[in-house]
């Protein structure tokens, strides 16, 4: 509150005549907004005045928020790996050399009428050779072979993702006389799906555990702040301050802790991704993957900042409510 120069005129007003009307509603609303502004500023000021203690609290909150965020980004990227799911989920039928192209076409028509089969594509021996030559870089060697060593292939997409059903289909296809060898590429997909499932649960569990941790870290910090301002709270209560008036500065402090913790987590996340993006992408290049590390967009920033602020506010609320309940008259 600013102190203004003493106005001689105002002082003439007698201090205590009959009780004047209480402040008007509009003035009360303005005054409450004013108090909100002041308390927001005051809480930041207090954080700034004890920088080391504040920084430690903010760091702990930040790390607690960073862990699930980091795992989420990992999951996002593993999910990206599995986005080629349809390509992976396929049965490859290697046909006998003597099966003609027309017979293979008939066969693929037959297979398409099967409900378990979603699509069939035929790759002739010549096509396979061309593709292999283009992709492997062994073109010269293959030319030197003279004859085409590759069989014609039918690539089948099963309509099911279920492992057991796909396995049954595989058995049936393996039994066809034209088929020399049938291969199911589902196992890898399932492992990947299993892995992402586990990470998903781990993230959910971590979010819950670490949110509780943030609540307690903020709650405990606020409890200490309350202890150091006991006298003030007592006086405020005695001159008729409501509980929300008493709680306001602490709620803002909790909010600021959470918000700054969220900011810390987001900046850490960005730095870690920058640190890992380059080596990870070049490693993946070596494996011939066109996978690119997905950076977090604006969403994680929003989630971390608002989630942190909410948790900080909630932790402060718990602490203040507990204290106010304890000093209620009995």
């Amino acid at each position: 509150m600013r102190t203004e120069p003493v106005k001689a005129k105002a002082v003439k007003d007698p201090a205590l005549k009959a009780r004047a009307a209480p402040a008007s509603t509009a003035s009360q609303l303005r005054s409450r907004l004013q108090h909100h502004r002041e308390m927001a500023g005051d809480s930041l000021h207090r954080l700034w005045k004890a920088p080391l203690a504040s920084l430690m609290t903010i760091t702990v909150i930040g790390i607690a928020l960073l862990l699930p965020a980091l795992l989420s980004v990992v999951m996002l990227n593993v999910g990206g790996l599995g986005s080629g799911i349809d390509d992976i989920n396929q049965i490859t039928l290697y046909l006998h050399d003597e099966v003609t192209e027309s017979r293979a076409a008939e066969l693929s028509d037959d297979l398409l009428s099967n409900n378990d089969v979603r699509s069939v594509s035929y790759i002739s021996a010549d096509q396979a050779l061309l593709e292999f030559r283009d992709q492997s870089g062994f073109g010269d060697v293959i030319s030197a072979l003279g004859s085409n060593p590759l069989p014609a292939v039918l690539v089948i997409r099963p309509s099911t993702l279920d492992a057991a059903e796909a396995e049954q289909l595989l058995q049936a296809l393996q039994a066809l006389p034209e088929v020399e060898f049938a291969q199911l590429d589902l196992l890898w997909l399932q492992r990947l799906q299993g892995l992402t499932g586990i990470i998903e649960r781990a993230v959910a569990a971590l979010i819950i555990i670490l949110s509780v941790a943030v609540l307690f870290v903020v709650g405990n910090t606020i409890r200490m702040a309350i202890e150091s301002r006991r006298a003030e709270i007592l006086v405020v209560k005695l001159v008729g301050g409501s509980n929300s008036f008493v709680a306001r500065p602490f709620l803002y402090t909790g909010f600021c802790y959470g918000l700054l913790g969220g900011l810390f987590a987001w900046l850490s996340l960005l730095s870690l991704l920058l640190l890992f993006a380059e080596p990870l992408n070049s490693l993946l290049d070596l494996y011939g993957s066109d996978f690119v590390l997905q950076g977090p967009g604006i969403l994680p920033a929003v989630v971390l900042l608002s989630g942190g602020a909410l948790l900080g506010w909630l932790g402060a609320l718990l602490s203040v409510m507990q204290y106010l309940a304890a000093i209620e008259p009995r």
């Binding site: 509150m1 600013r2 201090a15 205590l16 402040a23 008729g240 209620e328």
Partner: protein
């Protein structure tokens, strides 16, 4: 204004601080509450402030039964009562001005109106020039006057004081009492707990005496009876 009907207060642990106390303080009346330390003076004032709750009996303040006052309304109720403490309970992390403005800030006065009232209260206690100072730099008597300014800035109908002169020398104590009498003259009902008998017998007001939690005497001085009529 304040009415106690058979009020008893027993603290957890079994100490009976007040036993079946009954009295009535009229509107505009000024009374002293006296007795030794531990006689129950502070407890009685705390019951009026709803800092403690009576185990038995009824307390009516301004027609309101405190037993039936909803918790939500306690802050509003307290804003109508000014209270002065022996240790004045000032906050040393803010200026004199901000200390006195606190009740106004809570009630939601505009800065302009609050400034007007704070200065009026400061003027009343004769410390107008000290508004920017930190109360820790003031003397004991001045701190107590700041405490009084804070208690009256809201223009309460009732003013309670718990040993307001306990830490002051006789001369300053008399000045503080004079200040209270001035507030009483403009219509504020006053209940002042004090064990300083030599001072308060001189002042010729009604005197309620507590002994071990029981009200043992209630002497209404003639002059004060005339005043409160």
């Amino acid at each position: 204004m304040i009415r106690f009907d058979d009020v008893s207060k027993r603290y957890p642990g079994g100490h009976d601080a007040l036993k079946q106390v009954s009295f009535e303080l009229n509107k505009g009346e000024m009374a002293f509450l006296t007795g030794r330390s531990g006689a129950g003076k502070s407890t009685l004032l705390k019951l009026i402030m709803i800092m403690e709750i009576a185990n038995q009996g009824q307390i009516l303040v301004n027609g309101k039964n405190l037993n039936r006052l909803p918790k939500r309304q306690i802050p509003l109720y307290r804003r109508r009562i000014g209270v002065v403490f022996q240790d004045h309970q000032l906050l040393f992390d803010r200026s004199v001005y901000e200390n006195i403005a606190l009740p106004l800030q809570i009630e939601g006065y505009s800065k302009h109106e609050a400034g007007r009232r704070v200065r009026a209260a400061l003027d009343k206690v004769g410390l107008l020039k000290k508004e920017k100072l930190n109360p820790i730099t003031l003397s004991g008597g001045e701190q107590q006057r700041i405490g009084i300014a804070r208690a009256v800035v809201n223009r309460p109908q009732i003013l309670l004081a718990d040993e307001p002169t306990g830490n002051l020398d006789p001369e300053l104590a008399a000045e503080i009492m004079l200040l209270f009498e001035q507030f009483n003259q403009i219509g504020v009902s006053m209940l002042i707990a004090s064990h300083d008998l030599s001072l308060i017998t001189r002042l010729k007001h009604r005197m309620l005496t507590l002994e071990n939690g029981t009200l043992v005497s209630d002497t209404t001085h003639k002059a004060s009876a005339e005043r409160s009529l």
